[in-house]
C-alpha cells in the first residue's frame, strides 16, 4: 500500500494521457463558458463575429483533444477509454454540424434550438466522460474499486449535465414545464453533491487519515457554487435579467471543475514530486 498521496501503478504513458485529459477538461470548461456567453449575450452572430470565432477555436480544441485522447487510448490498447472518448469525439463532430447550420441562418428558431441543445448535450456527455477517463488513467489504489467517491462524482456530473441540458430547453418548451424539470434536476445534483461530501467524510473517518480531507473541502466548494448558481436562477426568474442566467451558467462550470479536482485528490507535496520526477 503506497503512502498517502503516492500515485501508484501509473506508468509515464498514464501520466501523459492524464495530462491530455486535463487539457481536454479545460477545453470543455472554456467551450461551455464561451458558448454560454455567445448564446446569451451576442445578437446577430455570423462567422466573422469575434465571439463566434473564439467559441469555434476553443470548441475545436475540445473536439481535437477528445479525438487525441481516444486515438492515444487506441494506440495503448485501452478499449474502454477509447470507446468513451471516441463516442464523445463523434458526437461533438455531429454537434458542430448544427453550429454550421445555425451560422447559415441565424434567425431560424429551429436552428438556434437545435444548435443550443446539441452543443450542450456534447458538454453533458463530456463531463462524466472526462471524469471517467481521469479515474481510469490515474490508477490510484483508492480509485480502484475501494472508494465510492468516483461513483458518486459520476452521478453528480451526469445530473449536472442533465440540468444544463434541461436549461437550454427553457426557451423552447412550455416555460413552466422546462423550469420544473431544470429545477428538479438541479435539486438532484445538490443531492448527489451531498452524497460526494458524505462519502468523503465517511471514508476519511474510516481510514483515520487526512487523505479525503481535500475531497470534503472540494465537495463543499461544489455545493457552494451550486447554491450561488441556484440563487442566480431564482433572481433570473423573478427579475427576468438575462445577466443572471449568464452568471448561473458560468458558475455551473465551477462545480464541474471542483468535482474533477476532487476525484484526483489528495494532492500532496509527495505526489506532486513523484509526478515531476516521472517527466
Amino acid at each position: 500500500m503506497p503512502a498517502d498521496g503516492q500515485v501508484s501503478a501509473s506508468s509515464p504513458e498514464d501520466k501523459t494521457l492524464g495530462r491530455m485529459i486535463l487539457i481536454q477538461a479545460a477545453f470543455l470548461a472554456a467551450s461551455y463558458t464561451a458558448g454560454t456567453w455567445l448564446t446569451l449575450e451576442v445578437t446577430g452572430a455570423s462567422v466573422t463575429t469575434p465571439e463566434v470565432m473564439a467559441h469555434g477555436v476553443i470548441s475545436a480544441g475540445f473536439v481535437a483533444m477528445s479525438g487525441l485522447v481516444a486515438m492515444m487510448a487506441l494506440t495503448q490498447r485501452r478499449r474502454s477509454l477509447f470507446l468513451v472518448n471516441f463516442a464523445v469525439f463523434v458526437y461533438l463532430m455531429a454537434a458542430s454540424v448544427t453550429g454550421f447550420t445555425f451560422l447559415g441562418d441565424t434567425s431560424d428558431p429551429n436552428r438556434i434550438t437545435l444548435a443550443n441543445v446539441s452543443m450542450m448535450t456534447g458538454i453533458g456527455l463530456g463531463m462524466p466522460a472526462t471524469c471517467y477517463s481521469l479515474v481510469q488513467v490515474w490508477r490510484r489504489d483508492d480509485l480502484q474499486g475501494s472508494s465510492l467517491v468516483p461513483t458518486m462524482v459520476y452521478i453528480a456530473l451526469a445530473s449536472l449535465a442533465l440540468t444544463a441540458v434541461a436549461g437550454t430547453f427553457v426557451a423552447g418548451l412550455t416555460y413552466a414545464t422546462a423550469i420544473a424539470i431544470h429545477v428538479g434536476l438541479g435539486a438532484f445534483t445538490v443531492a448527489a453533491l451531498l452524497g460526494v461530501l458524505v462519502v468523503s467524510l465517511v471514508e476519511a473517518a474510516d481510514r483515520s487519515t487526512s487523505r479525503n480531507g481535500q475531497r470534503v473541502w472540494l465537495s463543499l466548494l461544489g455545493l457552494g457554487a451550486t447554491s450561488v448558481a441556484a440563487g442566480d436562477g431564482v433572481v433570473a426568474v423573478t427579475s427576468g435579467g438575462i445577466s443572471y442566467v449568464v452568471v448561473m451558467a458560468e458558475i455551473t462550470i465551477l462545480v464541474y471543475i471542483f468535482l474533477m479536482i476532487a476525484v484526483a485528490a489528495p494532492y500532496t507535496i509527495a505526489s506532486l514530486r513523484s509526478r515531476k520526477e516521472s517527466k
Binding site: L68, S96, F100, G104
Partner: protein, 169 residues
C-alpha cells in the same frame, strides 16, 4: 510496457525504432492509412466545392452540406495527424514527430485560409477570397506530403523490428 521494451530493442545506426510496442506501431500505421482515406475524401469534397459550386454557379455558404462534410473531414484529418505526431514525440520517433507536427501546422494555416475563403463570400472572387482558397489548397498538399513521409517512417520501424524478430529482438 513500451519503456521496458526499449531496453531490449537494439539501436541501429540510421534507424529510428522508438519505444512503442510492435502492436501499437501497427495501430498507428492503421491510423495513418485512415488518415490517407480522409485526405482523399477531403480532396474530393474540396474539388466538388471548387468545380461545381464556386465556378460561377453559386457561392458556397457555411451551411452547405458538402462544405459541412469537408469541415468534419478536416477535423478527423487534424486529429489523426496530431495523434501520429504525439505518438512520435512521446515514443522517441523524432522524424515522425517533426513531420507530423509540420503537417499539423500546415492544416491549422490551411483552416485559417478556408475560413478566410468562406467568410469573404465563398465564391471565385478576387483578393482575400482567392488568397484564402490558394492557402488552403497549397497547404493541404504540403500536409499530405509531410504525413506521407511520417507514415513511411512508421512503416520502416515496423519492418525493421519484424526483421529483427519482433519484440524478442
Amino acid at each position: 510496457m513500451a519503456h521496458l521494451e526499449s531496453q531490449v530493442r537494439p539501436t541501429l545506426p540510421g534507424e529510428e525504432l522508438g519505444t512503442l510496442s510492435l502492436s501499437s506501431l501497427k495501430v498507428t500505421l492503421r491510423l495513418c492509412y485512415a488518415n490517407f482515406v480522409t485526405y482523399l475524401l477531403l480532396y474530393v469534397t474540396g474539388m466538388y466545392i471548387n468545380i461545381y459550386i464556386t465556378s460561377g454557379v453559386s457561392p458556397v455558404g457555411i451551411d452547405d452540406p458538402t462544405n459541412m462534410l469537408h469541415m468534419i473531414l478536416s477535423s478527423v484529418n487534424f486529429v489523426i495527424t496530431l495523434t501520429v505526431g504525439v505518438v512520435g514525440y512521446l515514443y522517441g520517433m523524432k522524424k515522425v514527430a517533426i513531420f507530423s507536427t509540420g503537417a499539423v501546422v500546415c492544416l491549422i494555416v490551411a483552416t485559417i485560409g478556408g475560413l478566410l475563403f468562406i467568410s469573404t463570400g465563398g465564391a471565385r472572387g478576387p483578393g482575400v477570397t482567392l488568397a484564402g482558397g490558394w492557402i488552403m489548397s497549397f497547404l493541404f498538399m504540403l500536409a499530405l506530403f509531410l504525413s506521407y513521409y511520417a507514415t513511411l517512417r512508421v512503416m520502416r520501424a515496423i519492418r525493421v523490428i519484424e526483421s529483427l524478430g519482433g519484440e524478442q529482438a
